[in-house]
Symmetry: D3
Subunit: 283 residues, 6 copies
Amino acid sequence: MKQLIDKAEVLIEALPYIRRFYDETIVIKYGGHAMTDAELRASFAVDVVLLKYIGLKPVIVHGGGPQIGRILERLGIESTFVEGRRVTDDQTMDVVEMVLGGTVNREIVALIQRGGGRAIGLTGNDGAMIQVTRKVLGGRDLGRVGHVERVDPAPIRAVAEAGFVPVIAPLGIDEAGLTYNVNADEAAGAVAQALEARKLILLTDVEGVKGVGGKLLSRLSAEEARELIAEGVIEGGMIPKVECCLEALEGGVERTHVVDGRILHAVLLEIFTDGGVGTLITP
Amino acid sequence: MKQLIDKAEVLIEALPYIRRFYDETIVIKYGGHAMTDAELRASFAVDVVLLKYIGLKPVIVHGGGPQIGRILERLGIESTFVEGRRVTDDQTMDVVEMVLGGTVNREIVALIQRGGGRAIGLTGNDGAMIQVTRKVLGGRDLGRVGHVERVDPAPIRAVAEAGFVPVIAPLGIDEAGLTYNVNADEAAGAVAQALEARKLILLTDVEGVKGVGGKLLSRLSAEEARELIAEGVIEGGMIPKVECCLEALEGGVERTHVVDGRILHAVLLEIFTDGGVGTLITP
Amino acid sequence: MKQLIDKAEVLIEALPYIRRFYDETIVIKYGGHAMTDAELRASFAVDVVLLKYIGLKPVIVHGGGPQIGRILERLGIESTFVEGRRVTDDQTMDVVEMVLGGTVNREIVALIQRGGGRAIGLTGNDGAMIQVTRKVLGGRDLGRVGHVERVDPAPIRAVAEAGFVPVIAPLGIDEAGLTYNVNADEAAGAVAQALEARKLILLTDVEGVKGVGGKLLSRLSAEEARELIAEGVIEGGMIPKVECCLEALEGGVERTHVVDGRILHAVLLEIFTDGGVGTLITP
Amino acid sequence: MKQLIDKAEVLIEALPYIRRFYDETIVIKYGGHAMTDAELRASFAVDVVLLKYIGLKPVIVHGGGPQIGRILERLGIESTFVEGRRVTDDQTMDVVEMVLGGTVNREIVALIQRGGGRAIGLTGNDGAMIQVTRKVLGGRDLGRVGHVERVDPAPIRAVAEAGFVPVIAPLGIDEAGLTYNVNADEAAGAVAQALEARKLILLTDVEGVKGVGGKLLSRLSAEEARELIAEGVIEGGMIPKVECCLEALEGGVERTHVVDGRILHAVLLEIFTDGGVGTLITP
Amino acid sequence: MKQLIDKAEVLIEALPYIRRFYDETIVIKYGGHAMTDAELRASFAVDVVLLKYIGLKPVIVHGGGPQIGRILERLGIESTFVEGRRVTDDQTMDVVEMVLGGTVNREIVALIQRGGGRAIGLTGNDGAMIQVTRKVLGGRDLGRVGHVERVDPAPIRAVAEAGFVPVIAPLGIDEAGLTYNVNADEAAGAVAQALEARKLILLTDVEGVKGVGGKLLSRLSAEEARELIAEGVIEGGMIPKVECCLEALEGGVERTHVVDGRILHAVLLEIFTDGGVGTLITP
Amino acid sequence: MKQLIDKAEVLIEALPYIRRFYDETIVIKYGGHAMTDAELRASFAVDVVLLKYIGLKPVIVHGGGPQIGRILERLGIESTFVEGRRVTDDQTMDVVEMVLGGTVNREIVALIQRGGGRAIGLTGNDGAMIQVTRKVLGGRDLGRVGHVERVDPAPIRAVAEAGFVPVIAPLGIDEAGLTYNVNADEAAGAVAQALEARKLILLTDVEGVKGVGGKLLSRLSAEEARELIAEGVIEGGMIPKVECCLEALEGGVERTHVVDGRILHAVLLEIFTDGGVGTLITP
C-alpha cells in the first residue's frame, strides 16, 4: 500500500504543472536519437499521448536525416552539404519529399497510435501551410531549401480540434507551388509562433546548451544567449537551434527549450519538473 | 535523473486509466475519517482536483454526522435514532440543514479550492434537485427523513459544465417544498444514476466489504452481494452501503466501489490501480 | 367583463417597462422586514418569479442579521459592534457562515421555489467568487469582516444561464482561502458591478432617502447625494447604503434604488411604475 | 399606494398563465370588427406585443374581406359567392393578392409596430409556404380558391426566431406556382398545425359557440362539437370555424378557441383568465 | 463529346469569378424592361437562383413604376411628377404600397420560385427596416416620398440566413410609423451599404453610362463620375443612378455597376465576365 | 455578346445539377491516365475545385501503380502479382507506403492547390482511419494487402469541414497497427459508404462497362450487373470495379459510376450532364 500511495503522490506532484499548461499548445521538434532508438521512440509516444489526455495540445514537427540519406544512397543519388544543410537538387527533393512525407511522418503517426493516441500526419504543403521562399545562405544557393515566410495554422487547428495529434513533416511550398526542404528546427519554431504556442521543445542529441568550460546551462535569457553566440561559446550545430529559439521567443512563444532527447521521457520530465532536463531559454 | 524517470513512469502507468475514464462522471460519497482527519482531507482535495484536471468529472456528495451532533448538543437538542438513522423532528431538521448546507458543505468547497480547484456547493433543494417523499422504515416514522424519488441533474450539470466541481449536501425536498434529511449514501447513489455516472465510490471507515471469515472481498458481483446479505455475512452498517451500490448498478452506473477512506489518496488509488483499494461491486 | 378588461389594461400598462428592462440583470439586496414578515416574503417571492418569467434576470443578494444574532445567543456567544458592523471573531464567523449559508440562503431558495421559480443558492466562496481583504474601519479591526476587492461573475452566470435565480449569501474569501463576513449592501453593489447590471435595488426598512426636513426624495443625482452626505442631511445607517449606490453607479450600474421593502410588491412597483417606491439615485 | 399594489396583484395573477404558455406558439386568426374598429385594433396590437415580450410566440393570420370588396368595387369587378366563399376568377385573384398582401398585411405589420413590437409580413407564397390544391365545394368550382395541403413552417420560423412577429396573409400556391385565395380560418388552422402551436385563437364577431337555446358554451369537447353540428345546433358561418378547430385539434394543437373579437383585449383575456372569453374546444 | 467538353470549359471559366464572390452579398436593383419582358424576366430569375446555389448571396430590390401607374389610372387617381419623382399624396401612397407590396413584390417572389429558388418578399416597413424622413427636393414637397436615413439589416439577414432570397419593395417608414414611397435605386444603394455588400448592380434600360460623344464607358472612377456630372456629360435620369452608386461606394460597397438589363442574363454576365456588360464605377 | 449569352446559358444549364448535388459528398477514385497525362491532370484539378466552390463536397481516393513500380525497380525490389493484385512483402510495403503517401498523395494535393483549391492529404493510417484485416484471395496470401473492415470518417470530416479537399492514399492498418496496401477502388467504395456519399465515381482507362458484343452500357441496375458478371460478359479487371460499385450501393451510396477518365473534364461531365460519360450503376 505504501508503494501505491507513493505513486499517487507522484501524480499529485504533477498537478501544478498540469494546471499551468492546461489547454496550452506545446510544439515539439522530434528528431535525433529519440527518433531512432526503439526504447526512446516508445517513451516519446506515451509522453505525447499522456500530454494529450491530460489536456495539453502537443504538436509534433519532425526531422528526417538518416532515412533520407539511406534512400538517396540506395537510389544512387549523391548529396553535398553547405553549413550542415543539404543542397537539394530536384531529384534529391523528390526523395526528400517521398521519405519525409511517406516514411518518417507515417512512422511517427503509427508510433503515437500504437502508444494509444490518435494522430494525423501533415506536411507543409497540406493546405499550402508552410509558405517559403528559396533560402540563400552566405551567397550559396542550397537548391530546393526553403526559408519559412509564413505558417497558416488552419490545417493544424482543424486536425487538433478534431482530437488528433498533428504530426508535421518540414516541407514548404513557394508561391509557384513548388515544394522545398525546410530545416526541422526552423519549421518547428515557425509553427510554434503561428499557433501562439506556450512552449517550444527541441529534442536534441546533446545535454543542452553549454556555457564557458562546457558547463550545462539550465536557464538562459535571450540576451545571454545572444552574447554567448557572439563570444563564440555557443558554436557549431547549436547556433541554429538557439537562433530558432530566439526567433520563436520574439514571435511570442513564452518558453523555449533545448532538451536532451536521449533521456527516457525527456518531454514529460521537461514539462513536469521544475528544473527540466536541458536548457530553458526565456525572453 | 533515474528518480525523475521513475516518476515519469508512474505518470505513464496512469495513462490507461486516464484514457478509460476520460470525460466520465465519477460520483464520490465523501464522509467518515476522510472528512475529519486533516491529512486525509488534504489528500482527498488534491485527488479531486487532479481528477478534474486530467479530464474526469468528479461530483462530491457528502455526509455530515459529527458536526450535526455537536451543534445539536450545544443547542441542547436531543435526538433518537432508528436503525442508525436519526429521527429528525422539525427543530432538528433546522439544525441539520444549517450545518450540512452552511458548515460542512462550505468547508468542502473551501477545501477543494485550497487544493487548487474551483467548486460550487449545492444542496438538494437547489433547483428542487433531490425530490423526496417521507421515509417510513419498518413502520416507524423517522420524521423529516426523505426517501429519494428523483434527482434532476440540471443544477449539477450547470455547475459542472461551467468548470466547477459540484459539492452536494444530502438534503431533499418534497412536493410541498419541505426539506428533508437524506442518507448521504442514498443521495450519492441517486445522483450517480441521474448523471449516468461511470463510477460510484463510497468512502467508508472500513477496509471494504468482507466475506465469510471477515476476509476482504476485492470484487463482487451484484448477485454475490445479494447472497451474502441473505446469508447474513454482510451485516450491520454495511448493508445499506451495499444496497445503495446495488441500486446504482440497476440504475445504469457501471461500477460501484466501497473504498477505505482512511487510506491516503484512496480516490486516486481506486481509479488509477487495477486492484483498487476496497471492494468493487459490478452488475 | 369590465373588471377583466381593467385587469388587461394593467398588464398593458406594464408593457413599456417590460420592454425597457427586457433581458437586463437586476440585482436586489433582500433584507429587513421584507425578509421577516410572512406576507412581505411571499410578495417578494412572486415578484422575483414574475420578473424572471417576463424576461428580466433577477439576482438576489441577502443579509441575515436577526437569525445570526439568535443562534449566537442560543450558543452563548457574545458580539460587539463597531459602527453598526459586527466584530466577527473566529467562532462568530463559524456561526455567521453556518446561518447565512445554511439557513437564510436556504430559506430564500425555498421561498422562491414555493413562488413557482427555480433558484440556486450560492455564497461568496463558491468558485471563490467574492474576493475580499480584511476590512479596517477607522483604525479598528472588525475581525473576519471583508472588504470586497473583486467579484468573479462566472458562478452567477452559470446558474442564471441555466435558468435559475441566483441567491447569494454575502460571504467572501481572502487569498488564503479564509472566509469573511461581508456587508450585504456592499456585496450587492459589487455583484451588480461585476454583472454589469442595469439596476441595483436595495430593499430597506425606511421610505427612502430623506432630504432637508425629513422629506422623502424620490430622485437624486450622485452629486446631490454626495452633497447631502457632506451637509449631514443623509446620516446614520443611510450613509453606507447611499455610498454603496454611488459606488455601483461609478462601476457602471445605470440606476440604483433605495426602496421601502415594507410595501407589498415593492420590487415590482419599483420596476413597473414611473415614480417607483423610494429613492432613485442616478449617475 | 393601495392602487399601485392592486395593480401589482394583477400582474402577479397573470404569473401562472405566463408560466403555462412560456415559449409556446399561439396562432391568432385576426379578422372582423377587431380588424376594422380603431380602438379594438389598438388593443389587439398591444396584446400581441405584450405576449411577445413576456415570452410567448404569437403568430398572426389575417383575413381581409371588406378591403378586397371595396377595391373590387372601385375597379368595377363583380364577384359571386358560393357558400360564403368568394368565387375568385383571375382578375379577382389579382386584386385579392394585391389587397391582402399589399394593404391589409402591411397595415397589420404597421399596427403591431406602432404598438411597440417588430413584425414581418408574409404571404402564403413566400418560400412557397402554404401549398394548396384547387378547392371544389359541393361540386362547384370556386375559381382560384385553394385547399391547404401542407404548410412549410421554415419561413415563419426564420422570422419568429429573429425576434419578429410573423403576420401572414392567407394566400396559397399550387404546384404550378399559381396563387390562390385561402380561407383565413383554414389557413390559421393549418399554420397552427405546422408550427405545433399550443393554442389556436379565432377572433370572431360573435360571443362564441352557442348551444341549445342560443346559450353561450364556454367549453366544448371535440366530440360534443361534432354532435352539435350533426344536430344542427351549430350552424351557418360557425360550422367552418368549429370544423377548423376540430381539424387543428386532430393535427396536434392542444387548445382551440372561438373568441369574441369585439371585446377589448380579447386575446389577453383569453390567455390570462381561467374562463376565457368565448368557447374553448378541446380534443 | 467535343461539345460537352466545351460546355465544361465554360463552367471552368466561371471558376475564378465564383471564387472571387463566394459568400459575398450582391444587391441587385431590378426594374425596367428586365421586369416587364417575359424572356428577360425568366433569364433574370435563373440568374438569381444560380448565384444563390453557387454560394453568392443575392438580394433583390425592385421598382414598380408601370404597374402603379396602371392601377392609379383604373382607380381614377391622377399624379404629378417633380424631377422624375412622383408626388405622392395620401391616396396615391395607398395605391403605391398596395401595388409594390401586393403585386410587384409578390410576382418577383413567384418568378424566382418558378426559377427553382426560394424567396421571401419584404417591404421597407417589415421590422421598420427602411427608416426615412420626408424628402424635400429643390424646395418642393413631393408628398409621401421618403429620404432613406438608415436601413436595419436584421430582417434581410434573418431571411437570407434561412436560405431564402430576399426580395425588397422600396417603401420606408418614418418615426411616426407612416409609410413612404422610396426611389428604388436609392433603396438598393442603402440596402447594399447596410449589408456591407460586395457589389451593387443597377439594372437599367440603357447600355450604361456614356461619356463625351455618347460613347459607352465600361469603367469609371468615382472622381471621374463626379467630373462628368459637373461637366453635364452625365445628365437626366442617369444622374440619380450614378449618384446612388457614388453614395454606395462611400458607404463601403466595393463595386457598383450600371448594367443594361435588356440583355439576356445581364446579371450573370456582369458577374462572370471580365468586361461585364455596362459601366463599372469604382471608388 | 451573343457568345457571352451562350456561355451564360451553359452555366444556367448546370443549375439543376448543382441543385441536385448541393452539399452532397462525391467520392472520386482517381487513377489511370487521368493521373499521368498532364492535360487530364490539370482538367481533373479544376473540376474538383469547381465542385468544391459550387457547394459539393468532393473527396479524392487515389491509386498509385506506376510510380510504385518505378521506385521498386530503381531499388531493385521485385514483385509478383496474384489476380492483378501485387503480393506485398515487407520491404515492398515500405516502398508502397513511401510512394503512395510521400509522392503520389503529395502530388495530387499540390495539383489541386495549383488549380486554386485547398487540399489536405491523408492516408488510411491517419487517425487509424482505414481499418483492415489481411486479405486472403483464393487461398493465396498476398502479403501486406488489406481487406477493408471499417472506415472511421472522423479524420476526413475534420479536414472537409475546415474547407479542405481530402485526398486519401489507399493504405490501411490492422489491429496491431501494421500498415497494409489496399486496392484503391475498394478503398474509395469503403470511404463512400462511411461518408454516406451521394455518388461514387471510379475514373478508369476504359469507356465504361460493356455489355454483350462490347457495347457500352450507359446505365445498369445492380441486378443486371450481377447477371452480366455471372454470364461472363463483364470480365477481367472490370469485375472488381463493378463489385466495388455493387458493395457501395449496398452500403447506401445512391449512385455509382464507372467513368472514362481519358476524357477532359470527365468528372464535371459526369455530374453536369444527363447521360454522363460512362456507366451508371444504380441499386
